[in-house]
Amino acid sequence: MAFVQNLPFISILLSLFAGPLSSILSGKKAKWVNLAVIGAVGAMSAAVLAFVLSTGEPYVYMMGHFPAPWGNEIRVGVLEASMAVFFCVIMFLCMIGGSRERELEIEESKMNLYYVMVNLLLCSLLALIYTNDLFTAYVFVEINTIAACGLIMIRQNGRTIEAATRYMIMSLLGSGLFLLGLCFLYDLTGHLLMSNIQESVRVLKQTGEYHVPLLVSICLISVGLAIKSALYPFHAWLPDAYGYSTLSSAAILSSLVSKGYVFLLVKIFYRVVGFDVIMDSKVINVLFVFGIIGMIMGSVAAIKENNIRRMIAFSSVAQIGYIYMGLGLGSQIGSIASVYHIVAHAATKSLLFVAASGLTQASGDSTDFFDLTGAGFRNKLAGIAFTVGSLSMVGFPMFSGFTSKLLFAQAGVESGNKMLLTLVALALSTILNAVYFMKTVIRIYTPEKKKVLVQKDFHSVTMADQPAKSAALVCFIVLNLFLGLWSEPMVRLFGDGLAMFA
């Protein structure tokens, strides 16, 4: 066995131990440890990705040398490794981009606790990506929830504590349903490892036994993870949690935490139940319908919102809708589109959050829509970055959002009876996206009167004032252009990865 094959396990362990270590360090040191860990994990994941690409097949890593039905396993394929790399890159940029806000909004004595949470969150995300065992997935889903809750409530005001409470309640409902579905599957198949469950489900499918319990367990798992990733009717906690928490938390929560659950669901669809069984079960049609409703309603709510942070948060509801719609199409290309959109949305939404905070910084830290008038001139880089993010979300060619919309449309055309609904929803949602994003872009490039600026005491922010955030913004813009212009190899990568899933 090559040494590289140990790296997924080592990266999970490294981020897990960095958590407790941060609790005894000072805030400053913990920050560097955290950045070093994210960087190291990213590099290790890249090495694993290169290894898996060179061998061309996934491998299974036994934990503690116990063979299959007894031991716990990690499974690494192209999709898992590339997701790990992307998650690390985006998390790294979110942490750099939000460092000023963290220092302003988090008490000095609690600073190191923030990094404990971030390290544990990274650990749980990696474990969700790599694990081949359903119950391990459940445990790390809970760790993920607790860490995310800590990220929300670290900024101490009434809003964030209430948002964290609501987040916990919804998450607990979701994980309760997920656990119940998991126990049903264990009951039916007698296994917890994903590959073994899939074999047993195949047999059950052929004999036609336990049809209803299998269906119920698929439903419970899908609904549970849909609640946790804030699919439309379950999104009530989301705007407060993203709108009032500190910047890096909001960016990480919207771009990574909810995506981790969606990725787990994709994995369960392909690796645990088998996609043909899912297709027969009609569960995906329900996800499809709610995805489409979410695409529309999320955008409508965003249009009505006057707080820019909450507006971007509502846009997340719409984008999660896209991902579920792609899954709901029930075709290979639909799933590829969804996986691509997971990455594209993660890159764009964190860019938007960081850029929006740059704009509010130039507007006296006010998140009100009308205070942002002319903010694009006062903070030039943030203005450009926000425009890039908006264009990407709307689906302007060259940017990542365009490719994912194109893939969704292609998947829709090939999907037969769902074609009309998909295309209409895509068109409608694009227009709605354009309404609120372009409205904001026009607002930030409308010059404000000198008198008002003096009266409100708004100052310009140059790149030298915010070196860390500027670097993060430039990287985000490059990442967006990279995903948009280099979409062909990316799509092929995700396609290969999904093919390895089956």
């Binding site: 005001n157 409470t165 607990l172 309760g176 126990c183």
Partner: protein
């Protein structure tokens, strides 16, 4: 519908009813403490379900005391292990929820989540 199976597996039915009670309490109660109680009922129902799945009538807990090594003598230990893991998870989540509740109560002097939201809107934060 075949109700004979329901009577044979009435323990599982009880576990599911308890799960429903806990779930609806967690979802619908306004009082935060009642929500947490609901959550605990929900998780306990899961443990009951898992324990039932591991139990084989007439066998003992898988602890070797009198030298019997045969697999036939013992129940399935894996669900018991899952229950233990689940208990750890639910204890930590309960502690976190309780600490959030304490913080909210100190700030707003009420346990009603809806009232807290109304007060937040009044503060205009």
């Amino acid at each position: 519908m075949d109700f004979a199976n329901l009577m044979n597996n009435y323990e599982e039915a009880v576990a599911m009813i308890l799960f429903g009670i806990g779930f609806s309490n967690l979802l619908l109660q306004k009082n935060l403490i009642k929500k947490i109680i609901g959550f605990n009922i929900m998780d306990t129902a899961m443990y009951l379900f898992l324990a039932l799945k591991g139990y084989i009538a007439g066998r003992k807990a898988p602890i070797v005391v009198d030298g019997i090594q045969s697999v036939e003598a013992y129940i399935n230990p894996i669900p018991s292990g899952l229950v233990l893991t689940g208990i750890v998870v639910s204890v930590s989540v309960t502690a976190l929820m309780l600490s959030l509740t304490v913080r909210l109560y100190r700030r707003y002097h009420t346990l009603d989540l809806d009232k807290i939201t109304t007060q937040l809107k009044k503060e205009g934060l």
